[in-house]
Amino acid sequence: MKHAFLDEYSGLRSPIHQLDPRAKLVGFAALIVVCVTTPPNLYAAFAVYLGLELALLWLSRLPLRHVARRMLIVLPFILVVAAFLPFFSRGGGSYNLGPVRVSGHGLLVLWNVAAKSTVSVLAVILLSSTTPFPDLLRGMERLRVPRLLVALLSFTYRYIFVLVDEMQRMRRARDSRAWRGKWLWQSKVVGHMVAALFLRSYERGERVYAAMLARGYGGGMHTLYLYEPGIMEVGFASLVMLVPLAARIIL
């Protein structure tokens, strides 16, 4: 079974792809922090953030369809929740749209959520689509992100689809035996499947640990880091950090 990986298109060649992952991690994290702390009425600042991201997107030569698809996975969840705000929120003046009353304050909140989540999600997509996930992990390691967290992410990346496959196989085995019935019975079966999956993962964890010990694991994760930060990295990080910061302060 094949699954789309988190870091699809991270193997392309472009000025952005070639950067040291640390520069991208720091740059995009800064961009997100600056963006979410911007007051919602600084409309021009958001335009600058988005413009900067679109420029990076163009430089990275990522297929637009891929980026759009990724955005569509994440954004609806956020927007559906926020879309109700103008109708239920109070204050900030109100407008009458036929029979419905729309609150000005609610509209501002909607804009706030929409703008910030778009900029942040796009930043994460740019980061994950231009950096192979293993390199991202190593970058995090070098940036002193706690080892345990990096190891956790690394195992998740490696085993998430192994687990998904296992679940799919169980589901097939279940459906092959003409599985149907009352809701209560169904939920019981699903409960058993989840329990089986948990036990299998737990046992796999023990076997993986044994395999690590067998190769001399002693508590520390050692990895090789092949990137050398240079002028490009410094340039990128300062661009992505300083431009939004300047926009945020000046505009």
Binding site: F5, Y159, A210, L213, R215, G216, Y217, H222
Partner: protein, 258 residues
């Protein structure tokens, strides 16, 4: 010809924490350069025995690897010298990329960056997986995964290769490739399996285990042609398979070492 023993086990007993007794007094001597198949029905204690070879489990009794007793002070050295390959390659390959997995052992051994890169490319070349360094193990075929799993221990330059169910789930071609890979790897080997033809092809000596004990030990032909013995311990040759006495000249390691 006289050889140093690679594995010496005396009176080994082991019970799992839940009380299941897995080994009831195992004595085994494997000499350097031998290729030994350990066969037996499920639950015979084969895999438990294997986990004692590098100190993942520690039972009552004596285990020595290349003369070193398996105890805490020697674990580092022993784990470098014993390459243990687990049955499910998804357990063995736990890193985000093939490179990281093959580099895991050498990095734990404290080799330098250049030495690690060298060890990794050597190991991948041996198993025929050059160029797949950056792949995630998830995207390899099952046969490739099995070979990558071997590479993860070959990169540590082991003196003893221990394989749990090496041929399971392999299609005939992958199985052939794996068998050839084993025969190219000229170090002491212990294979744990119930695939008797695979043992016949790759080992000179067979040890039969049942109920936590060693019940037979001899050359591959005499054990595999003893139908009664096999039957008694829940083993049988595939239908239509008859072991033939073969000239042991081609793959013997002992002769090369002299």
């Amino acid at each position: 010809m006289h050889h140093r023993p690679a594995v010496e086990i005396k009176g080994l007993h082991y019970a799992y924490p839940d009380g299941t007794v897995a080994l009831r007094g195992v004595d085994l001597l494997v000499e350097e350069g031998e290729a030994v198949g350990i066969v037996g029905p499920n639950g015979a204690g084969k895999s438990t025995l294997l986990l004692h070879l590098n100190g993942i489990l520690a039972g009552r009794g004596e285990v020595r690897i290349f003369g070193l007793p398996v105890e805490k002070a020697n674990l580092r050295e022993i784990r470098r010298r014993v390459g243990l390959v687990f049955q499910d390659p998804d357990d063995q390959l736990f890193s985000p990329t093939v490179f990281d997995d093959v580099a895991f052992g050498p990095l734990n051994m404290g080799l330098s960056r250049e030495e690690v890169a060298e060890a990794v490319s050597c190991a991948l070349e041996l198993v025929g997986l050059e160029g797949l360094e950056k792949r995630s193990a998830y995207h390899l075929s099952y046969g490739q995964k099995k070979r990558a799993a071997i590479a993860t221990v070959l990169s540590m330059n082991p003196d003893l290769l221990v394989l749990d169910e090496p041929s399971s789930n392999l299609d005939p071609r992958a199985r052939r490739e794996f068998s050839e890979l084993l025969q190219r790897t000229r170090i002491t080997k212990i294979l744990v399996t119930h695939d008797l033809p695979f043992v016949f092809e790759n080992c000179e000596r067979v040890v039969v285990m049942d109920g936590g004990r060693i019940v037979a030990d001899g050359d591959v032909f005499s054990i595999l042609s003893n139908e009664e013995l096999l039957k008694k311990h829940g083993l049988e040759l595939p239908y239509g398979f008859y072991p033939m006495h073969r000239e042991m000249d081609g793959h013997r390691v002992e002769e090369d070492r002299g």
